[in-house]
Amino acid sequence: MKKRKARLVQGNRACAEGALAAGVRFFAGYPITPSTEIAEIMSEELPKLGGKFIQMEDEIGGMTCILGAALTGKKVLTASSGPGISLKQEAIGYAALAEIPCVIVNVQRLGPSTGGPTSTAQGDIMQARWGTHGDHPIIALCPSSVYECFTLTVTAVNYAEKYRTPVYVLLDEIIGHMREKVEFPDISELEIIDRKRPDCPPVDYLPYKIDKTLIPAMADFGTGYKWHVTGLMHDETGFPTGKPEIIDAQLKRLMNKIEKYEDEILLWEDIETDDAEILIVAYGSTARSAVEAVENLRTEGIKVGLFRPITIWPFPEKALRSKLENVKHIIVPEMNYGQLSLEVERVCKDKAPVSGLYKVNSLPLSPNEVMAKVREVL
């Protein structure tokens, strides 16, 4: 297996390199801490590959610009944080409804509002799920290491293309800014997915066709298909409709297209869960503290394990439930006031009580704090 030489790489850089490896050739965005490095790296690297970078006048521009680019057939990325992600929400809904593949990296910072630009947080978990108005499917991936920033950005681009959907990569400031020694896989070792394009003649093309795959083919603008894209409710042809039965059928397809493929979308990791009586559910940088806590507590003979959802949305609920056999208590440490805890509670409450460990003061959750919480529920 060919490997690149090990380097000391920052999480944000790993995201940028992952995107490029996955074939992203268009970036539009607006600088904001702690995500700015991604834009800077893309501005330097994209032209070398014949790709395009543009610094837009605001984050709404960044988001909408990549959607325009995606319609010409490009794989696209934007990156932002806190206030910038809030600004992008309307356009993320557009991407969901018009089914335009795109990846949004959110390097989470302390909020609400300007909050703490350089402080870490995990306060955007529910925003990623419900930030834009109206029901819509979303995929959000949550790396816990620099290596995963690379690999999961590749996965995010692949998912966006395969399922014609916006995909978030949710970092937190710690993951975005930390440096680790890594060897990324060579591009030749990666599975790279391109969107399905129509093979029918333009007259037969239905950009929102309801078939058993639930994912319609997407024609590049400029290739003669002359199709219509709108954020209005539309029928199979892409044109606006007010017919309730058609709206119903299209929205159901939209929601089901992610659910149908959950088996191939869902990602998670579990550590020491086989005999675990206390289960920690953690993600992002918090999961790193949880791993350390599990290791330390295990040396004391405490039966504790970790379940780490990597796809936060959709949430790997079946996988989590399969780990609960001996579990007497679940702990969810998060750098927010209890966002994923709600989801964990929904999934597990008939099996075991769920306690949150919340910290929102600009500081990371330490292994000691996680250990103390475990001891508290013992």
Binding site: T64, C65, L71, K74
Partner: protein, 273 residues
Amino acid sequence: MRPDLQHLFRMEKLPHIWCPGCGHGIITRAIAEAINESGIDLDKTVIVSGIGCSSRAPGYMNFDTLHTLHGRALAFATGVKLANPELNVFVITGDGDATAIGGNHFIHAARRNIDLTVILFNNNIYGMTGGQYSPLTPTGKMAATSPYGNPENNFDVAALAIAAGASFVARGTAFHDKLLVNSIKEGIKNKGFSLIEALSMCPTSYGRRNKMGSAADMIKHLKDNAVNVVTAQKLPPEKLEGKFLIGTLHYKPYREFTEEYDKLIARVQKEGK
């Protein structure tokens, strides 16, 4: 519909949703005519719009069409054009769409001088939402949200575009049909940001409230108050009082963004080797 223009429309989508007497249909037809006469590749043409009555036009037009979000047409179009500069990219937008919610994208697209042909359907009002005032509603005029007369100052959008860096700016009207078609053709030819301000009329939401009479009266108003820029040069200032200029207001070819970016790529790739 003229037979020679029918292939540019999605005939099955007609009739359109606009009110009787609305100026937007005339301007849409003028765009089709200009595209037809300019001979550009129809398969390589994309029409982008925002949200508003005007922004519904692309749905009737037989191209790759992109009906976006209120105010964001220019940002979407920037992505389309930069990602594939081969495409001819048109933007159809309203006065509210372009200069209120989309004002930031408007000045920056003009500043970049990105090669877009922008047709701004100016009916001086938010038509779609029922007649609230826009940044192009003249001071003092009645609107659903200015029941005592508009207390705000209005933009001169052509001057705004020129100041921001657009390389081609023209004004036409729904009455001066031929001139409008020519202006759009000039805009297509210009390699850069081209703004064609097309004065439209909204009898439903603007004319009625401002006692401007029927649609025919409104179109007569456009006819009576327009002065061609060439003619205007020969007229004393008092003759231009209360009038507006039509024709090419500004033409200054200038470095265009997507071409410059391609040069940048070529330079970086050469230096990298």
